[in-house]
Symmetry: C2
Subunit: 476 residues, 2 copies
């Protein structure tokens, strides 16, 4: 045990002989205060492995470059595009070349939505082009577009109150960003609400905290009993401007043109690659993200980073000759953004092994500075992963919170698989989320490596510990 | 004098009776330490006026709304457009309605550059649209566009070293933002440098510190002895991406299409309006900004804010019945952005009164939180304006620095007029400068009012003090 403690001391980067005595006494105090943890046999058993994985991850200098190459070269990887399939081809070749096993692309049929040409023209009180991004799944407007007055509302309730004014109008939801979960409902469900009140199209203020005239796309949904009207996102700037115009009594009239359409489903693939288990290979820890992205930006943080970090995490083990008892399987799901077909297909086709999927880990909140994980599973399992989290304290990534997971592992979790999502510093993610600005320059190589470390340590320990992570009794 | 000091105490917003004795003693200490200033008759004479002006400016609740109305309703005010002239018409009517005198639009012929359709398409290593903004004054590419390989360089020196590679290429200057003055030379002079080395077009990384895939436009210049090649700005993201592609040996090939052209000069106007002097009306303090903007965004910070703040500053005096000894003239120059014709024409046509222009004040760095002024003039004059600056200490806007002015007052300063430019917190200005994001939502009403206060106090004191601000002997 002391060996690892001394390793930690080594990271202070100054000789102990240079320390004031008081500081050494303080350190000694820490060690003795730590004593209860020393009795955690799980943690102690894996501290050496964890420290080696962390050190190797942080010493890496190639992952950022690989992520940059991948996102620069293949660009946006939208479901149904040749670019996504070219990116997947490259992944399969490279994972094979890296010596991973059972590398495969598992076929998934995915929706094929195309944006087409789109524009929003302010006609009154002045003429101006306004930048928009149509929302994934939206119908188009037809060639002449839709010309109508805009009704700006501040919430669904506000729309209810102004229902009489909505008929024949384009309803703009101008809702300031609070949390993603709270605000995104206006993007997903805004057009349904607007159509219920007779609106001819929906607009939503882009879902993000800050803007440099930055539209954000994302998925939207229709309901069968409500007319399908077009739905697009405007910038925060233009949403606020139309609000001000309405508030001061200026009539706001626009023409919305969207060439959006949904084509027949297309073929795509979930990418899987394994570091096989040496003792219990049929038991699996799954770890990954989604390989598709929106059709703007290059999806560096959403979510090539998650996929490549998971891949790198197993490569570090492999390069150090660390062979896990259980299999660690990297999965890069397809079509998370506008259908979740990769995840649902994966869960269906792997239903036979769901009892053997010990844990599913996803990184899909951006590969910024990691804080820890959100865990979804039993209390007993939570207490175990929380203890594993303590192995990440040296990089401040050990905070394990109750609740969490990820869209791609959701269908597995519904089948009883314990799941966890990497939690990172989220202060910048939603500035770039689903925008042209989601590119690799926003990411930091060291933070990316810390994500790798966090994923490597968690997956390694769960793949190696004596017992499977416990599940609810009725699932066992 | 004590009356003013008690006014300052009043701003503490708690009764003196509630103060601990020690705090009162500390205040007493300050007063005694301040005693030398008490002997500055200039400062003391105007402290009451300054405090009243500051109080009135900060109590204002209409200026932000007026600025929002103006920028929302007239939009971008690019030289040669009907929108600029409509905005000027409105200004003239409103200034007249506000009771200002000698309100006039003084004719100026301005360049008329039109952007036209423009696009940059990445052809290798993959196909993608990249957002650009052509630079003001650039020639177009002709309809088929220019298709060429890109050479990315990091500086003019780097271009010299790679001269042999530049011929027939599109040269991209990928220069990270340091200061505006240092970096902007690649926007203004990049195409000339590129053409000298045989390049067929120039691209420049947008001049700004941060980006959310945000192109920045701005003016560029040709030289008579160098071929005129098109010049456009790419986003920071795409500049960095093309750099990475080149660094890893990927061939970068693009097609640049720009419909830019320069049409015959058009008519515009400088807007002037006065608060006439009661005693020496022919002596004038000039104060303002520029009313034109780029053709993207709505030019709220660059520079409608400067114009409307100057206007508001004199309105505060007028509404309080404060009539200056010398005339205070608000000037909103036209065509600062791509020609400076408003400023040069103004200086030529007002050359006869240049001896009577006591001071020219410009706000053109955004109406963010004001810090003080940069002053260009004699040492003697500097010491006077620095003392006047002390009247702005209560709003932390009293720092007077050596050197400064503004583009619009430059031609007057060349003729010997002392000039000063409002200095503000510049941390955000260049994020939005010359982009679609320069809209009123980035500004804060209180900060805007502080700018008004700073402009009102400085202009008021210089317009009222006994002697004219001194000039260099040879100018007198």
């Amino acid at each position: 045990m002391m060996r690892h403690r001394f390793r930690w001391f080594a990271q202070l980067r100054f000789p102990l002989s240079a320390c004031p005595v008081g500081f050494l006494l303080m350190l000694a105090g820490c060690i003795s205060a730590d004593a209860p943890r020393a009795e955690d046999s799980l943690v102690d058993a894996y501290r050496g492995d964890a420290d080696r994985l962390i050190e190797a991850a942080l010493a890496d200098s190639t992952l950022y470059d690989r992520l940059a190459f991948f996102t620069d070269t293949f660009g946006p990887r939208f479901s149904g595009t040749a670019a996504l399939e070219r990116a997947i081809d490259w992944l399969l070749v490279e994972m094979e070349a890296d010596g991973l096993e059972n590398v495969a692309g598992e076929q998934v049929m995915v929706p094929r939505w195309v944006r087409g040409q789109e524009s929003l023209t302010l006609l009154e009180p002045r003429v101006a082009d306004m930048q928009i991004l149509g929302l994934g799944g939206s119908v188009g407007t037809g060639v002449p577009g839709i010309t109508a007055e805009v009704l700006v509302v501040k919430s669904f309730d506000d729309l209810e109150e102004r229902s009489a004014e909505a008929r024949g109008r384009i309803v703009l939801f101008n809702v300031p960003f609070t949390t993603y979960g709270e605000t995104v409902q206006y993007r997903t469900s805004g057009s349904v609400a607007a159509a219920r009140h007779g609106a001819v199209a929906g607009l939503v203020r882009s879902i993000g905290p800050e803007s440099m005239y930055t539209p954000h796309t994302g998925v939207m949904r229709y309901e069968d009993d409500v007319e399908r009207i077009p739905h697009a996102a405007v910038t925060i700037e233009d949403a606020m401007m139309m609000q001000r115009m309405q508030d001061r009594g200026q009539r706001v009239r626009v023409r919305l043109q969207m060439g959006a359409q949904t084509l027949p489903d297309a073929e795509s693939r979930n990418v899987v690659a394994e570091l096989p288990g040496t003792e219990i290979p049929h038991e699996v820890v799954i770890m990954g993200g989604h390989i598709d992205s929106w059709d703007v930006g290059t999806g560096a943080m959403d979510d090539a980073g998650g996929c490549l970090a998971a891949w790198e995490a197993v490569m570090i083990m492999k390069e150090m000759g660390m062979a896990p008892r259980r299999t660690i399987r990297v999965v890069c799901w397809t079509n998370e953004e506008n259908g979740l077909r990769g995840a649902t297909t994966y869960a269906e086709e792997h239903a036979h092994e769901v009892e053997d999927i010990v844990l599913a880990i996803e990184s899909d909140s951006g590969v910024f500075d990691p804080i820890g994980y959100g865990f979804g599973g039993t209390d007993e399992a939570f207490s175990i992963v929380a203890r594993i989290g303590s192995l990440l304290e040296s990089i401040d990534a050990g905070e394990i919170r109750r609740g969490g997971g990820g869209a791609d592992i959701g269908p597995l979790m519904e089948r009883g698989v314990p799941g966890m999502g990497l939690i990172v510093d989220g202060s910048r993610y939603f500035n770039y989320h689903h925008t042209h600005a989601d590119m690799v320059d926003k990411l930091d190589p060291h933070e990316l490596n810390k994500c790798v470390a966090a994923m490597a340590v968690m997956s390694w320990v769960v793949a190696n510990m004596e017992d499977k992570l416990p599940r609810p009794a009725h699932e066992a």
